[in-house]
Symmetry: C2
Subunit: 239 residues, 2 copies
Amino acid sequence: MVQAKKSFDGFFKSAFTVDNVIFGFDDGKLKVLLIKRNEEPFNDFWALPGYFVQQHEDLDAAAQRVLRETTGLENVYLEQVHSFGSPGRHDFGRVITVAYYSLVKVADFELHAASIAEEVAWHDVEEISTLAFDHEEIIRVALNSLKRRIRTQPVGFKLLPPAFTLTDLQHLYEAVWEVDLEKRNFRKKILSMNLLRDLGRSQTGVAHRPARLYSFEENRYRELEEEGFNFELKEGKRK
Amino acid sequence: MVQAKKSFDGFFKSAFTVDNVIFGFDDGKLKVLLIKRNEEPFNDFWALPGYFVQQHEDLDAAAQRVLRETTGLENVYLEQVHSFGSPGRHDFGRVITVAYYSLVKVADFELHAASIAEEVAWHDVEEISTLAFDHEEIIRVALNSLKRRIRTQPVGFKLLPPAFTLTDLQHLYEAVWEVDLEKRNFRKKILSMNLLRDLGRSQTGVAHRPARLYSFEENRYRELEEEGFNFELKEGKRK
DNA sequence: CAACATTATTGTCCAGACAACACTATCTTT
DNA sequence: AAAGATAGTGTTGTCTGGACAATAATGTTG
């Protein structure tokens, strides 16, 4: 077997990285977490939090580690989206990157720039300028995936704080899909799914009628799913 | 930059491969194209048609090339599904594989085993035995992707010959989803989409009333899609 | 404290989509 | 010509989605 391996040596000259597209929702806008690199190539450019995978490290584990080391985020559920491997995408040689994405509540995390990051910050998805490598493309692909996914999986709740209003939820969908949704129909649909717990509390200190607060019942969803329930929302018409 | 590169040399010791999951539909059953390997590791095992990517080759192009070299299939539309990279998945070192999948018409292609394949054949998805590497898992992931995809994209037609009957189409959906569908409702739904051209011909030589033949109008679909049409079928209940 | 500004909350009606359901038609085989 | 096999078709009831506007609760302002 060691002899057999000999002739394959030419293939073992590549590297791979993981890159994380972390979406958050704040101030009515969809955000993505970026780091400012302090390492070549693309020194001083904004980039996705990503880095090389270690020789004996699992891909998923590497994504978690790199995210933690560059931004301080821990225990984030990451899902693989796509791999990118154009021959010229990295100056140092052939590097394939496996992209992951996630949804988090912005308020839940304190950001700590470290490792190759000299700065970490949330950026409006709408206003992303020139990024390192092919990271703009990676974000585009991840965003498409997100748009499809929130239609049929109740993942949107991961972007909201534990107690949220129905209007918050609606704004989230409107931001991701770039559509306007009809208030009454949206509420009817969401409430009919029985996935929300009415917390019996309301907003306070707002200069208008305070809205009721709800939380997402993860367990209830799991039960219903077992019984064949399918979460599904429609996008309606474009803005 | 060359100096900078130095310290990264340790990362450039990996290889990557592409593996293709090619689905076909024949005899009322969903099939997948496998090769019998004539190379270590896993010599003589059935495996997905895949191989190492060249140093300066694009991933998508590599998938096409490898598929052609091992099975003779050409001009197949391949779509990336997922990457697999457990540290122990390949005996020769760290190897990540990028999996692609496709749907083809079984009758359209003549199979030619070559390169590392000593045999090529269609296998029932239901009856796959022990495969090389983690290829069983790859097929599982690709199959899940297919199930979701045929619901909202008219890709199922790629598995059928140019002229097919509505019953063929229904059987295809039933096979992929493992459900029973109601004949009248299925036909109504499909025909109402205006995506099929009635060829005016019928089956011949069958021992029963011959069925009308249809073809899929790709162009019509593109038009409708522009206008905001969404292809969508429901899965109904499990068998 | 009264008027105002602001957002929350709620129900009806209509149209289109979907699910359930059974009989007749056409061809080959015997 | 009878039997066997699959193709083809229509109605009805129920559910879901979409359009649509008036009233309620709070903080702010004058």
